[in-house]
């Protein structure tokens, strides 16, 4: 791979992390003094990081082997374990760094407007900066340990931001749920790192990927599956998907940045980064495929039933990340397609969330689509940008989603076996469902009769909010074509994933495009038939089919978690508390009480009658004398 020590600007790439981190520190420690300019500082650090990331990437493009290593300091060194805090700036991390700082900058700008009336705006920007720093550490770190540090760091930032409005019990609970479910995944990641150290003696990417081939197949599969568990937790994939929709309790810019564009794609990054490991274990790769395909459908089905605009988008995110997992599970053929979809998704989903935030801003923070309707007239800019994001997401021809999603479906079909057809079919079906639920969302929000609460006067958001939306909409339109055709991502990522294979094209690309487009149009049509034609009731109908009811409950994921883990856990806790107080401590206290009781019982032998004592003495003396006689005689 030819990693070289970094020079020039690349040697300063640690500033990428340090800048937002410093911003967070100043805002958190500075207290109220920084209230007036805190948001500007927060935004400035991220914009500066973006500029630096662009400069670094430009320099990287001209470097031999396109991979630079930045050694910082010894983090942990004990025994054989030697973890260096260091960064790896290569095409893969560069792509992510650009996405994080780029979309991050836009969302920071947007938040200036969105949070303008919140008294705790400074704290919000501090947490956002903290998130950007942790996320950059996640993607730039040069070892699995550094990734783990960033991995839990973004978990913390996500926790803080979901619970930003912590006086709402729902927000506090959602934040805790997100953190705990992530931790379940983190345990998998941690154990994978333990295995790497135990078997290979190192945790750095270079070391692990260089020597992983010497391991037994079962061990590699175990590592692959454990990494996947971590990825599932962070990316909201089946079976750990339930936290992501709840995370929408956070402010909308958070949903856009963390729970759509960047953090939740960390799982995809992990699997792409660990490509040398997955290349050696078809079993783990097959599980990745299964998880991706299943989640894709689960997310899409649940997305069809919700009336909460942010929850629909959240399930859409779950589903789209399912696509990405599917892609990276396909192996070399799919890595680039998955990452291209990830980038395009970063644009249009962030744009959609910001649009949703703009709608909520206009509708007094309501998220109930049944109380929207007819908003296109009142919110023209939001409507236009949201509409472009919508078209990009459903894969309207020649917008970004069209290119990237087709690439994934083609890669699946190129497996040229039964499973290829199954996966391709699932992906196409998912495209239809996506078109359905997104069209439903569009129709309920922007079209039809206005069903607003009384006294609402929707108004367009200020420029500071609409400008980022416009930029993201432009990105949604062009990024797909740009990444697939104009500046191929496959070429840029070649140092990481190797020479792109010549696609087999089992099915002609044009035919795939046509089929997907037709299915997509069917989805749109279905949505119009179900939603657009009729008046939308203000309250959700109660008498619905079992399928709808299941979808409304997100296929009972929460119910399963509750009955399998939460209830038994609570029961076990109560039982153990009882056992500890009565059993263990009871035994100790019982012993103490027994000693005390027997001592007072023995004390009763002290009658106070002198003659009783004298008799005791006599008896004792006789016994001693008898014993002496017995010993001397016998």
């Amino acid at each position: 791979m030819g990693t070289v020590p970094a020079e020039g600007l690349l040697a300063a790439s640690w500033l990428l992390i340090a800048l937002p981190l410093a911003g967070a520190a100043v805002l958190l420690l500075g207290g109220r003094r920084t209230d007036r300019w805190g948001h500007l500082l927060g935004t400035a650090t991220v914009v500066a990081a973006f500029v630096l990331a662009v400069a670094c990437t430009v320099q990287l493009a001209g470097t031999d082997g396109r991979s630079a290593d930045v050694e910082l300091f010894t983090f942990i060194s004990a025994g054989d374990l030697d973890v260096t805090a260091g960064l790896l700036y290569d095409p893969l991390s560069a792509v992510f760094a650009l996405l994080i700082t780029g979309v991050g900058s836009l969302i920071h700008v947007y938040s200036i407007g969105y949070m303008a009336h919140d008294p705790a705006r400074r704290r919000f920007f501090a947490y956002l900066n903290l998130f950007v720093a942790a996320m950059l550490l996640l993607v730039l770190g040069n070892s699995y340990v550094a990734l783990y540090v960033g991995w839990e760091g973004v978990g913390l930032a996500s926790y803080l931001l979901i619970a930003f409005w912590y006086t709402r019990p729902a927000a506090a609970t959602a934040a805790k749920k997100a953190f705990i479910m992530n931790r379940v995944g983190d345990v998998g990641l941690a154990i994978a790192i333990f295995i790497m150290f135990a078997q290979l003696g190192t945790t750095s990417y270079a070391g692990v990927h260089g020597t992983v081939g010497t391991l037994a197949g079962g061990t590699i599969t175990a590592i692959g599956l454990l990494l996947l568990l971590g990825a599932c937790g962070k990316s909201g994939q089946f079976p750990l998907q339930a936290w992501l929709p709840d995370a929408m309790e956070g402010p909308t810019p958070v949903s856009a940045l963390i729970h759509a564009a960047t953090m939740v794609t960390a799982g995809v990054y992990l699997i792409a980064r660990s490509a040398p490991i997955y290349d050696l274990t078809p079993t783990a790769r097959a599980v990745v495929l299964a998880v991706g395909a299943l989640t894709l459908l689960v997310g899409a089905i649940a997305g069809c039933a919700y009336d909460d605009i942010k929850k629909v988008l959240a399930y859409s995110t779950v589903s789209q990340i399912g696509y990405m997992f599917l892609a990276v599970g396909l192996g070399p053929a799919g890595y680039v397609a998955g990452l291209a979809h990830l980038l395009a998704h970063g644009f249009f989903k962030a744009g959609l969330f910001l649009g949703a935030g703009s709608v909520m801003h206009a509708m007094d923070d309501s998220v109930d689509m049944r109380r929207f309707g007819g908003l296109w007239r009142k919110l023209p800019v939001t409507f236009a940008t949201f509409g472009l994001g919508y078209l990009a997401l459903i894969g309207f021809p020649f917008l970004s989603g069209y290119f990237t999603k087709d690439a994934i479906i083609e890669a699946a079909l190129d497996r040229d076996d039964v499973w290829g057809w199954v996966l391709g079919g699932v992906a196409v079906l998912g495209a239809g469902l996506t078109a359905f639920y997104m069209t439903r969302l569009m129709l309920m929000t922007f079209f039809g009769r206005a069903r607003w609460e009384d006294g609402l006067h929707p108004h367009e958001s200020p420029t500071v909010m609409t400008a980022p939306m416009v930029v993201l909409a432009v990105g949604s339109v062009f990024s797909g074509a740009l990444l697939v055709s104009v500046v191929p991502l496959s070429g840029w990522l070649e140092p990481v994933f190797g020479e792109p294979e010549e696609a087999a094209h089992v099915v002609a690309p044009a035919l795939v495009g046509l089929v997907v487009t037709v299915v997509m149009l069917l989805g749109v049509l279905a949505a119009w038939l179900f939603v657009g034609r009729r008046e939308v009731p203000v309250t959700a109908p109660v008498r619905v089919s079992p399928v709808t009811r299941a979808a409304r409950n997100a296929l009972y994921a929460d119910a399963v978690n509750e009955s399998l883990f939460m209830r038994p856990g609570q029961w076990l806790t109560r039982a153990l508390v009882w056992f500890d107080n009565r059993g263990v401590d009871g035994a100790v206290n019982g012993l103490a009480a027994g000693l005390g009781g027997s001592s007072s019982r023995l004390g009763r032998a002290q009658t106070g009658f002198v003659r009783t004592y004298a008799l005791g003495m006599l008896g004792g003396a006789v016994m001693v004398a008898g014993a002496l006689l017995a010993v001397t005689a016998g």
Binding site: S77, G79, R183, V584, V588
Partner: protein, 531 residues
């Protein structure tokens, strides 16, 4: 400089300070506090200077001082530290001044004058320094038992409502362990008499003994039970929640922060090097206790409604990690375990202090009496969160480094135990975040409504709804944010948590040689991995 009696001074200074504070006239409470603070800061300075005088790559025991004590028994007043003991002395040096600061007003209202509190505190510091610095087994035993006395009075005189019960329980538990250990100490002396011709208590001489394996097992158990009670390992743990809950907050910090570390320190210093065969024999049993304790105590912590009991149970869970690291017999895990001892003192110390500050405001230890505190006391909530995150070993905090080292170091030798222990980190997240959410998040509850009129529940209902407007409170609340004194107590610990989380290497450099030396005494593979 190395001949300077650092350690003797570190014991003598607080002991003399305690006498001075106790002898002050009744009305001079403020002077007593100032003297206590000054003495404890001086000990911190001594500890730092001693660390600078210490050479990590030099002899195993340094800064030694030896005075003939009871020549007939071959017992000397011998002091000396290796890297393990040194970092514990640093921890003591850091924690005691903060405890003095945190307890500034706590003893004012008690039945006994504050100077008594601070005198016991300083005496406790002297005893704690002695127990870590002793390199003579009899001297260690004397300090080990003497340590109980000041702590007994701290709990029994200045504690909560059930302080008598807790103090007696603490004392009896420790005494039982101590007496069993005394038998083992005497047994060790007898063995040394038969092997060396002349009995001795000197650690370095005892380490050279070649003890019969069966005798080793008995002596090991004698020491082990004492340390397992002190540490505490499940099932010898039930005294800690009572003591931790009833002790005054400063006492609780030193109890779980330092005093209990004597147990795990004893495993490393006495059980392993003196009885290597027995240690290897018993290791699987100890690991079962350790790992079971991690999960058991974590589940119990979740079921507690009393914050101080909850924190005590989290400590029991953490001690399981430390024991796992020690008995995994790898350099990485052992180093991690020692670092864990320091980090746990800092993290749980802060958690106890912050919980204590919250209790001082609300007057209740029940979680259910709090809610939505973060809105009124953001600094308090921030410190609480940092302490909690350190307790659940989030990367970036000090505890992560130690927990990671323990787990990654144990995995090559004991994969099954390690995997089960790793599940404990999920539970850690649960118990910390549950407590944080219930006390800090949500609408105001409990004591925050106590001053309000009958309309208070309605307001809580409104906050329950969707609007998130943070309107200014319309009534006076008892929960105020941290004062300057409290900030000065909290800030150094927060700085240490983050500083040691990012750059732990200086401490690791001190600890690692001592741990390798210990493990080479045990004769196990010190390489960690079996490549």
């Amino acid at each position: 400089m190395s001949d300077f009696p650092w350690l003797l001074l570190m014991i003598a200074l607080p002991a003399v300070g305690a006498a001075v504070v106790a002898a002050l006239p009744r009305g001079r409470s403020l002077l007593a506090k100032q003297v206590a603070l000054g003495v404890s800061l001086a000990v911190l300075l001594l500890a730092v200077l001693a660390t600078l005088a210490f050479d990590p790559d030099g002899d195993r025991f340094q800064l030694t001082t030896s005075v003939s004590w009871i020549p007939d028994f071959g017992a000397d007043f011998a002091l000396g530290v290796d890297g393990i003991a040194l970092v514990m002395l640093l921890l003591i040096g850091v924690l005691v001044p903060l405890v003095v600061g945190a307890s500034w007003h706590e003893a004012d209202t008690g039945p006994r004058p504050p100077r008594v509190f601070f005198a016991w505190l300083l005496l406790l510091e002297a005893m704690m320094v002695g127990v870590f610095a002793a390199v003579d087994v009899l001297l260690f035993y004397v300090f080990f038992e003497a340590m109980l006395v000041p702590m007994y009075f701290l709990i029994g005189s200045f504690g909560g409502p059930r302080r008598q019960y807790a103090a007696v329980k603490f004392f009896l538990y420790s005494l039982v362990g101590g007496l069993i250990m005394l038998a083992a100490v005497i047994g060790l002396y007898v063995v040394s008499t038969s092997q060396l011709g002349e009995g001795t208590f000197a650690f370095d001489a005892l380490r050279q003994l070649d003890i019969d394996p069966d005798v080793q097992k008995l002596l090991f158990l004698g020491f082990f039970v004492a340390f397992a009670i002190k540490a505490p390992l499940v099932p010898f743990h039930t005294w800690l929640p009572d003591s931790g809950a009833e002790a005054p907050i400063g006492g609780a910090v030193l109890l779980v922060g330092v005093l209990d570390k004597v147990g795990t320190f004893g495993f490393l210093r006495y059980c392993l090097p003196l009885f290597p065969d027995a240690s290897r024999f018993f290791a699987p049993f100890v690991l079962v206790l350790a790992v079971a304790g991690i999960l058991y105590a974590a589940l119990l912590a979740m079921g507690q409604s009393d914050m101080k009991r909850l924190v005590s149970y989290t400590s029991i869970s953490h001690f399981g990690f430390i024991a796992l690291g020690i008995f995994a017999f790898t350099t990485e895990a052992g180093t991690g375990a020692v670092l864990y001892m320091v980090n746990h003192g800092i993290a749980t110390g802060l958690l106890f202090l912050v919980v204590g500050m919250l209790i001082a405001r609300g007057g209740s230890r029940e979680i259910g009496d709090y809610g939505g505190v973060a809105r009124h006391a953001p600094k308090l909530a921030g410190a609480f969160l940092v302490a909690g995150l350190a307790s659940l070993a989030l990367p970036g905090t000090n505890s992560f480094v130690s927990e990671f080292l323990v787990l990654i170091g144990s995995f090559p030798e004991r994969p099954v135990f390690t995997v089960v222990a790793t599940a404990g980190i999920i539970l850690a997240a649960l118990y910390i975040l549950l407590m944080y959410q219930r006390t800090m998040h949500g609408p105001p509850r409990g004591v925050l409504l106590a001053d309000a009129g009958p309309e208070a529940p309605q307001e809580a209902q409104q906050a329950h709804g969707a609007t998130a407007t943070l309107t200014a409170p319309t009534r006076t609340l008892r929960v105020t944010d941290l004062s300057r004194r409290e900030l000065a107590v909290v800030a150094p610990l927060v700085a240490l948590i983050i500083g040691l989380g990012v750059y732990p290497q200086p401490l690791l450099d001190l600890i690692e040689p001592a741990v390798s030396a210990t493990l080479s005494d045990v004769g196990t593979d010190t390489g960690g991995t079996d490549r």
